[in-house]
């Protein structure tokens, strides 16, 4: 059973560029969350996708956007890159939570290391 997969593994961009990161959830999962982990810090929640819509968003600017496809895979897009966007971007998948449920266990992928020069 494949776990959460992310691509690419590493990425180097320059300031002002745009980047797209990809995530395939664990088999059977329908919800994808994205987190940013700066060096030496804990992961920070960016947003969560369920039923192809953004359900919840953390304290990140509109430069960060996403998409979820009918097969539940997801993309994270970051526009107008800043040096401060350099971080490990983690994707997590879960089965739900569905309407009326609370949070569910999230399983994380290996991450994409983004370096902005």
């Amino acid at each position: 059973d494949a776990g959460v997969t992310q691509s690419p593994t590493h990425l180097i961009k320059t300031r002002g560029q745009q980047v797209t990161l990809r995530c395939s959830p664990k088999s059977g999962h329908d919800t994808v969350s994205w987190y940013q982990q700066a060096l030496g810090q804990g992961p920070q929640f960016i947003f969560q996708y369920y039923e192809e819509e953004e359900r919840q968003r953390g304290n990140f600017p509109d430069r960060f956007s996403g998409h979820q496809f009918p097969n539940y895979s997801s993309e994270l897009n970051v526009n107008a890159l800043l040096l401060g966007d350099s971080a490990l971007y983690l994707c997590a998948s879960s089965f739900g939570p569905h309407p009326g449920e609370l949070t569910d266990t999230q399983y994380f992928g290996p991450g994409t290391r983004l370096t902005v020069l």
Binding site: G42, D104, F108, G111
Partner: protein
């Protein structure tokens, strides 16, 4: 809003010794609590979780954690550490708004 505090930034422990990592949370209702481990350059692996029921939960790799509501704590323990336990450990709390809120992490170094 929920939050997590991990008071210890770095812990050094001898191989074979016991380990305890502290986690304090802030949340108005009964939280969902998690411990994850991260090896260098890797993603997060779930060690254990608490949703309800027995306050002592068992996880993978010989880890356990105890939920203490009165102290707002969810400390992680292992009776005897192995060199492979050297990693960064994150406590997280989940609530009604779907996201996980993580602590800053505790780095564990294991000396021979």
């Amino acid at each position: 809003a929920q939050s997590v505090t991990q008071p210890d930034i770095h812990i050094t422990v001898s191989e074979g010794a016991s380990l305890e990592l502290r986690c304090n949370y802030s949340y108005g209702a009964t939280p969902y609590l998690f411990w994850y481990v991260q090896s260098p350059g890797q993603g997060l692996q779930l060690l254990l979780k608490y949703f309800s029921g027995d306050t002592l939960v068992q996880g993978i790799k010989g880890f356990e954690a105890e939920f203490k509501r009165s102290q707002s704590s969810f400390n992680l323990r292992k009776p005897s550490v192995h060199w492979s336990d050297a990693a960064e450990y994150f406590c997280a709390v989940g609530a009604v708004d779907y996201k996980l809120s993580f602590g800053a992490g505790t780095t564990v170094t294991v000396r021979a």
